[in-house]
């Protein structure tokens, strides 16, 4: 199949695995909203308006990162419980189209939540078109990074029940612990670099830089403050996970 056909295949997978279920069970959207919204609610109650802005950025990134958890669970479920990955392997569909289609359907689930969070963000930190485009870019890169990681992990398991705790663990480590909902400068200096072991920190730092949120609270060492460092980190992690997912993914059992 040509590249156009492969892309169309991904589009169809997104349609029947993402859009149709969403349309039939709109409650699924609520499930996506719930956790980041609760965090945001807490922050609204216990913190300052200045810190709340970080919380909204955190809500956006949390939502995006959990597409990775959805990807992990959905791909494992289709492969192990329904034996459906097999019908895509034994077909002209390339692994990359399948991964992309599944990842797009995970994104579809989160679009309503993302739109709402972006709306809130606009209210608390008004931004222009250029910043909006940059934010969308960060969201897309983070989504690719998270879903590649999710797919990659999913391929190494043979039991669904082993996967559930792993997904929650990995993506909570990525989305809750690192400085997404709070400024990285709150981490004791000397340990701030540790946060960058989680690639989600790059997304958060980048988004905060784009929105002008972290002025006057520098991290040490100083190069941690460079947005280009964040961009390189995010792109690097995305490429690393994406390439590993495509090349190491167990499209064929050993």
């Amino acid at each position: 199949m040509s590249i156009a056909s492969q892309l169309r295949a991904a589009g169809h997978i997104c349609y029947f695995n993402g859009i149709i279920p969403l349309w039939r069970s709109p409650l699924l959207i609520a499930a996506v909203f719930l956790t980041p919204f609760s965090f945001l609610f807490f922050l609204r109650v216990i913190s300052t308006p200045e810190l709340f802005k970080f919380g909204v950025v955190g809500g956006i990134l949390f939502t995006v990162l959990f597409t990775g958890n959805g990807m992990l669970n959905d791909c494992a479920y289709l492969r192990l419980e329904r034996q459906l990955q097999q019908i895509f392997v034994a077909s002209p569909v390339r692994p990359l189209s399948y991964i992309l289609g599944m990842a797009l359907s995970e994104l579809a689930f989160t679009l309503p939540a993302l739109a709402l969070f972006l709306g809130i963000l606009f209210v608390v930190v008004p931004f222009g078109a250029a910043v909006f485009v940059a934010l969308v870019g960060i969201v897309l890169l983070t989504w690719l990074m998270a879903t590649s990681l999710g797919f990659l992990i999913s391929t190494f398991f043979r039991q669904l029940r082993e996967i559930w705790p792993i997904g929650t663990l990995v993506f909570s480590l990525l989305a809750v612990l690192p400085p997404l909902f709070y400024p990285a400068s709150r981490i004791p200096s000397g340990f701030q670099w540790v946060a960058f072991l989680a690639p989600s920190t790059f997304s958060a730092q980048l988004a905060e830089a784009v929105l002008g949120l972290n002025q006057g609270s520098a991290l040490s060492p100083a190069w941690l403050n460079d947005p280009w460092f964040d961009l390189a980190g995010l792109v690097g992690a995305t490429v690393l996970f994406g390439a590993t997912a495509v090349y190491l993914a167990r499209w064929r059992e050993p």
């Binding site: 149709i20 279920p21 329904r82 034996q83 459906l84 097999q86 034994a90 002209p92 569909v93 390339r94």
Partner: protein, 306 residues
Amino acid sequence: MDALIADHVSKRYSGGDRGKLALQDVDLSIPKGCLFAFLGRNGAGKTTFIKIAATLLVPTHGEVRLFGHDVVREPERVRPLIALVPQEGKPFYHLTPREHVYEYLRVRGATRESALTRTEEILHAMGLMGVANEPNLRLSGGMQQRALVATILATEAPFLFLDEPTLGMDPFARRQVWEVIRRAARKGSTVLLTTHYLDEAEQLSDELAVIDGGKVLYRGTAEKLKLTLGREVRLQFSGGFTSEELREFGRVFSDRNRLTLLTTRAQVRSLTEMALERGSEVVVGPVTLEEAFLELVGKGIEEDEA
């Protein structure tokens, strides 16, 4: 021309029992357009072979060629030519059978028009029209299986792998599926299917292979299998005999209040006369494929145990 050629294929699962081979040195060829059935007990290696040939699993040794392409080295040439019903697969539960068939065809690159026509055709042929717009999750198990099989058969792929396609289907549904499978073969598709229903294999297949313990025990037609065993007649007695008594004449199966003996033509006369003398009711007929299968595989089991 052969659609599939397997050459010395062996498989040892990496996580599996160290000493055990799921497939041992399997040689097999399936002519183009053939409807080929794979028979064997649970764990015989049928699914393993299908997975290897369908580019889902890497063999430990040997090679499989599909339409001349090596399934390990050239999967991207093989995959457009195949479609597969996985053993115990389940369709996407939130889709309706109509969406399921149509969307899968579109994913595989069919045009909108051709996908639409083929979808309606197959839904009709598989008796799915009545539930075509019901989400799969509301369908019965057999209906869901039909939706999945319909999805794969609608592809009209040159090579169709059907691993227990009629599992859980009622006798009417099975016959509908047989008809669709036959039509696919008439249109030129080669079909490799597995089934535990021996009547199905007999009805449907041009040729079959019996596999046991990862080895091919027999390959040929159902008719020939029944003849080659040397016991081509089956006698059923109601009373008058003990199974010990009959055992010297051939293989004996007992069920409920009857004894079934598979034996040679030469024995029929004397045995029926004995039965009449003892007032036992006797029914004479040809062996079924199921009995031939039991005989063939049973011999192997006895040899292993001895």
